[in-house]
Amino acid sequence: MIFARRSRVPSPFRLLFSRAVTEPREERPPQVAGVHLHGSLQLRHVDVGSCNGCEVEIASALAPHYDAGQYGIGLVASPRHADGLLVTGVITHNMDGPLRQTLAALAQPTVIVACGDCAVDGGIFRAAPGVSGILQDVVIPDVVIRGCPPHPDDIVRALRRVSGR
């Protein structure tokens, strides 16, 4: 697998005409939760109480090496713009309200992605003090990404299944 070359000063010519090298296209994945996204998936990331391990991996998934952006996947600032939530961590007392607010602010239809073991079933923090519950107590996630933390490849693969590209 060859990755796009980092060049300090980009040549406009090269920028325009070099071909993007991508992974071989997989079979078209099934639609999730009835959302027809046609290769455009914007998510609002909510960290409800994560150790930041998942955040590092999400950042890598969007960074040059894994580059989820090339499949039309991105994070956005406002839940109004988002097609769903990307939730990491167990729900702490302080983040319970904001999570519900964010859920309420989403425009339907939505997809909820639980990223990392903590978001899926509470992981190692499940019984920790200050934790009020796990994501399932608030909303049932449509997509589950296992791992502590999940590998960026897994994140990208899962999200591509949602976006359909």
Binding site: L16, S40, D83
Partner: protein, 317 residues
């Protein structure tokens, strides 16, 4: 082909070009930036895909918002569409070409900015107000440079009608490399970057509310209204880019009534505008975002360049 029919076709072609080409320009710039950063980047058609998706989503209105919230994107879209429709971008004979006054275009763009700022204030949130305040501040500081640069162009052809300016430039190719034109180009370049919210003035890709300008105004928009907003903004970008391209490099603009010239005009416009977009993207890659309170320096620089353009225009007349 008869003249009125031809004008209608020209206008339709321009509007369709801007409506599809605008998002593509945004996509192109994102692609160039991505490649410069070593990423593959989203495909150029990504903005169109996003629009298609947003069209099918739900409409949401904030509880305290008024009719302004849905009205703002409509006004931006309508004002920009009319501006695109009457400007001589593909041919010098669009509909209402006699009204294609450069001040009309400037004030139509201003109307769009005003609608956007009011839309940002409508929901009554802190971030919306912040975005509107900043956008209006930048707009107010960019306005002088824009208007004076535009006047520098008009003085040269002693008319403020865009069609006249374009035809006059075609007739006097030596104007293009005159100092007045180049200075006005510099000033307009700064203004275009400010008005389209690109780095170093604003970062369209920021996720942090406190650093937002334009993004903060649209935090409340969702679904079809967001789609229309994005489309209007994209058309605005394409209008500004193609105006710069057409005013400073008018070659290729169809002057007659033939279909062939029209096709050539479309091709020339696409190429020129894409080149402008490429230049802007490269500027974005090479520069860091300026602090909000360093912006007056940049925009004052644009203003001085435009005054210089007027003065050198008078000197070399």
């Amino acid at each position: 082909m008869t003249s009125p029919l031809y004008s209608v076709i020209v206008t339709l072609v321009q509007v369709v070009l801007a409506a599809t080409g605008g998002p593509l320009l945004i996509g192109l710039m994102a692609k160039v930036k991505a490649r410069a950063e070593g990423r593959v980047g989203a495909p150029i058609v990504q903005p169109l895909r996003d629009l298609r998706k947003l069209m099918r989503k739900e409409r949401l209105h904030a509880r305290h918002s008024s009719v302004m919230l849905p009205l703002a994107p409509m006004v931006i879209f309508a004002a920009t569409t009319v501006a695109v429709g009457i400007s001589p971008l593909v041919s010098t004979r669009p509909l209402l070409g006699s009204s294609a006054d450069i001040f009309v275009i400037v004030y139509l763009l201003l109307t769009g900015s005003v609608a956007a700022a009011l839309g940002g204030l409508d929901a009554g949130t802190a971030f919306g107000g912040m975005g509107s305040s900043r956008a209006m501040t930048i707009g107010a500081l960019a306005e002088p440079a824009l208007l004076v640069a535009v006047i520098a162009l008009s003085i040269q052809s002693s008319s403020s009608n865009l069609t006249t300016i374009v035809s006059a430039t075609l007739a006097h190719p030596d104007w293009v490399f005159g100092p007045s034109r180049l200075l006005a180009l510099g000033a307009l370049g700064i203004v275009v970057i400010a008005e389209t919210g690109r780095i170093p003035v604003d970062n369209p890709a920021t996720h942090l509310e406190l650093t937002m300008v334009h993004e903060a105004m649209i935090l409340e928009y969702a679904g079809p209204e967001l789609a229309l907003y994005h489309l209007g903004e994209a058309m605005r970008v394409s209008l500004l880019f193609s105006l710069v391209a057409t005013l400073f490099f008018p070659w290729g603009v169809a002057t007659g009534h033939s279909v062939l010239a029209l096709v050539v005009g479309v091709g020339a416009l696409v190429v020129k505008t894409a080149l402008v977009a490429l230049a802007v993207a490269l500027i974005e890659v090479r520069s860091a975002k300026l602090r909000l309170f360093r912006l007056p320096e940049l925009l004052a620089g644009g203003f001085v360049l435009s005054v210089l353009a007027v003065v050198t225009g008078l000197v070399t007349r």
